[in-house]
Amino acid sequence: MPDSGYPWPIETTRLDNGLRVVVSEDRTAPAVAVNLWYDVGSRHEPEGQTGFAHLFEHLMFEGSVNVAKTEHMKLIQGSGGSLNATTNPDRTNYFETVPAEHLELALWLEADRMGGLVPALTQETLDNQRDVVKNERRQRYENVPYGDAWLRLLPLLYPPGHPYHHATIGSMADLNAADLATFQAFHSTFYAPNNAVLTVVGDTTAAEVFALADKYFGALPPRDDIPAAPDGRTVPAGGGPGVETVTTDVPAPRVYVAHRTHPFGTPGYDVTTVLATVLGSGRGSRLYQRLADGERIAQPDLVGAYGVDLAHGPAPLIATATARPGVSGDRLREGLTEVVDELATVPVTAAELDRAKALLSTMWWRQMSTVDGRADTLGRYATQFGDPARAGERLPAWLAVTAEQIAEQAAELLGAADRATLTYLPEETS
């Protein structure tokens, strides 16, 4: 295995308007991945405007000065490409992978919606995509058992005013209140070249991409007063542990235990990543061995732990289990918290550590096995840490984590006083 997690070339430049351009050439397949990270996410949303960053992401597919409504999708798919976009608390990313001969088309489309969205934005488009997003909320959060767990965990972990207090999907009331002027202002404020990173990975050269980037993006004006999101690095002390119990239409008791850890990209969060893998990834994990196999109180397919990779505040670590038939919510919660507590008291063995690192290595190389996976990774490191090459440090940093560090972090951060616990209980059936 290479020493770096990123054994491919990386070249970067910055246009005069501040747009950062990252290129990683790889001639293996005749495809290129184009990826834009905009440094705006739901953490920038003021009260009363939750869900706006994500709704805005939808509007970016609805036409711009030289691109008709839905033509973006048609042109990319009509070139043989795949495309999508996502919004999370930290950022919004837009990406397409196309056969290499369509690179220029992809850059033209991205430039047009970066520089020319506002004149094309209509009330009709906003109303249509508002309905689409409300249906997305129904489909993903409201109409499925446990679907609102993330919406409930965030306010337990982060107090009002913290940028991670509310979920990216937003509230129905705020979505209903969204007006056109707000979205026009949102684009003018945040969708500026100096607030974005353009990454291209695959069958091209840095020289070609730099020239095309200058041609299509070079004349877009920068914005010099982009407002910062509220500072999320310190979380004010709350009133003790957050506890919520929801009795609703679910098929079995389920418990989530969550903690605030460190921001993604810090050495502390590298420890969290390995800790979460030891705790809850795979059949050899502590949660599986103890709750699904050993005591057999949890359903084997529904036990796990993971960190949520957020960089602008202490990122969440979440552990979850769902009860086997006949097991109460109380019993399950005791079992789950006991295993989490033991991370501080029962040392992680060399075998546990090796297992976690082997799984993380495979996960890393799987992300690196496609041009689109690599492009998104480079865009993240350029946006959040100022240097795409730092992507190569992540895997070695995971591999250097020690059992002592895991025990220390568990003692420091995973105590009962800092815990958010969310329990779902089935309604009594008559």
């Binding site: 295995m1 293996t28 397949a29 005749p30 495809a31 030289n66 839905t70 048609k74 798919q77 009509g78 070139s79 043989g80 490409g81 795949s82 196309v98 056969p99 001969e101 369509h102 690179l103 088309l105 033209w108 430039a111 047009d112 520089g115 249509n128 995509q129 508002r130 309905d131 689409v132 249906n135 997305e136 129904r138 489909q139 993903r140 409201e142 109409n143 499925v144 058992p145 069958d203 041609k215 004349a219 098929p251 059949r283 050899g284 196999d293 057999r296 359903q299 084997p300 529904l302 769902t322 038939p325 090796d354 297992r355 082997a358 799984l359 290595s361 495979t362 799987r366 096995s369 496609t370």
Partner: protein
């Protein structure tokens, strides 16, 4: 103006190439491999002719239980030791099935592939299948299905499948069974299914940097001790179309969306119309700009998404549309979806739409076939459907050459709006009257 108004044309097209395919017979079995030079990850997959189509009627879910039971210990070690051994290599054992095959695979950094394949073989060929473990896994699987069936979708899927193919047939019942069928399995069902289908050699699929992989050694690991002839695959099954369209209503009180599953039978995988039929499905419901998604999502705002496609296995196929729509607009969404199927059958596709569909399907063969996992999956298609090494290149040519006339003819031949079964899973008290009034067909309440 700071933007460039003129849309750029395409550059010079790069030649399409699927990775080099290597086939060989070794140690009494067949190996099919793809060479991915420089790739750090490798995938090995054992393809067995033991898919859901091999399960006896009344024993649905057998393969799913066996998939989990393989990891409950082997002749050599117990379940915990097995989990620790395989995960220490950086992989989990991934076992799954479709109608035509059972697949077990590992994905690891290439230097660990040999060790991972040894563990894969151990689980597939010599699982312990201790009766107490099998019973527990069965109960866990039944519980897992109960959890899954609490979501919208699985019940509607099962109702549609039964109506299309007949619940008396294995292929008229859910791929993974249902909570009751799994709960009714016994230990012998599992051990007999294993001895019948999991001792035959099967085919070893490998995707990775073959300069760093010893295929003969992997074959020796997987095939030594295996035996038995390749089983008869069975011919296509004739499935009659319904004589009339009807709605089957599955009640889900309190639902804020209605889950729609519309469908009718369609040809099996080897049918000569496979390519034009796929493209007709893409125009109607596959691409983002498809007729269905454009109208129901982008114009009406009824849904987060709607899609329709033809899907096929070795012996049968189906056309289906699926979506979740806001409860209040269930009836109009259904009327408009059926309307688009009818329109596509009556008036065919346009050159503009077909251009998007063929380029997209062809381009996906380069864009989506990058990772070892994706390439391994493409190789399984070659094996399951007896296709040649250059199949993907030929498919690409066939997609790009398809004409409006051919695709429109496939729409006429294979879309049957009057024979659709329209399954609606939603809050019956709120939507039933509207569905009756919509006049799409008789409304039948599904007995819970």
């Amino acid at each position: 103006m700071t933007l460039i108004a003129t849309r750029p044309g395409a550059g010079a097209a790069r030649p399409y190439r699927f990775p080099q395919v290597v086939r060989r017979s070794a140690a009494g079995g067949q190996v099919v491999a793809a060479h991915l030079p420089g790739q750090n990850l490798a995938v090995a997959l054992l393809l067995l002719d033991g898919g859901a189509g091999r399960e006896p009627v009344g024993k649905e879910g057998l393969g799913g239980v066996l998939a989990k039971a393989l990891e409950e210990g082997t002749a050599q070690r117990d379940a915990t030791a097995y989990a620790l051994a395989i995960e220490a290599l950086g992989t989990e054992l991934v076992a799954g099935l479709d109608w035509d095959s059972f697949q077990v695979s590992v994905q690891v950094p290439v230097d660990r592939l040999g060790a991972a394949v040894e563990l894969l073989t151990e689980a597939v060929r010599t699982p312990k299948l201790d009766p107490a473990d099998v019973r527990r896994v069965r109960d866990d699987e039944a519980t897992a299905l109960r959890m899954d069936w609490a979501n919208p979708g699985p019940r509607a899927d099962a109702v549609l499948r039964a109506d299309l193919f007949g619940a008396d047939n294995r292929w008229g019942r859910p791929l993974y069974g249902d909570p009751d069928s799994v709960a009714a399995l016994d230990v012998d069902d599992v051990t007999v299914f294993h001895s019948e289908w999991f001792i035959r050699p099967g085919t070893l699929i490998v995707a990775g940097d073959l300069d760093r992989i010893d295929l003969d050694a992997l074959a020796a690991t997987v095939f030594t001790g295996a035996g038995g002839a390749a089983p008869d695959k069975g011919g296509p099954i004739e499935v009659p179309l319904s004589e009339r369209r009807r709605i089957i209503l599955v009640d889900r009180p309190g639902s804020v969306q209605s889950t729609l599953r519309l469908g009718h039978p369609s040809p099996h995988r080897a049918h000569p119309d496979h390519v034009p039929m796929t493209l007709a499905g893409t125009v109607l419901g596959g691409a983002f700009t498809s007729r269905l998604n454009h109208l129901i999502r982008e114009v009406r705002g009824y849904t987060y998404g709607i899609r329709g496609d033809f899907a096929s296995s070795r012996r049968f196929g189906r056309f289906a549309i699926s979506s979740g729509v806001q409860t209040a607009v269930t009836a109009p969404a259904l009327v408009e979806a059926v309307g688009e199927v009818s329109r596509t059958r009556l008036t065919g596709v346009t050159e503009d739409e077909l251009a998007v569909a063929r380029s997209w399907r062809a381009g996906q063969l380069s864009v989506e076939l990058q990772s070892p996992r994706a390439i391994a999956s493409a190789l399984t298609t070659l094996v399951v459907h007896d296709l040649p090494d250059d199949y993907h290149a030929r498919l690409r040519e066939a997609l790009l050459a398809a004409t409006v006339e051919e695709v429109s003819a496939a729409a006429v031949a294979h879309l049957h709006p009057e024979s659709l079964t329209l399954v609606v899973e939603g809050d019956s008290a709120l939507i039933r009257d509207d569905l009756v009034a919509a006049g799409l067909g008789e409304v039948v309440d599904h007995a819970p």
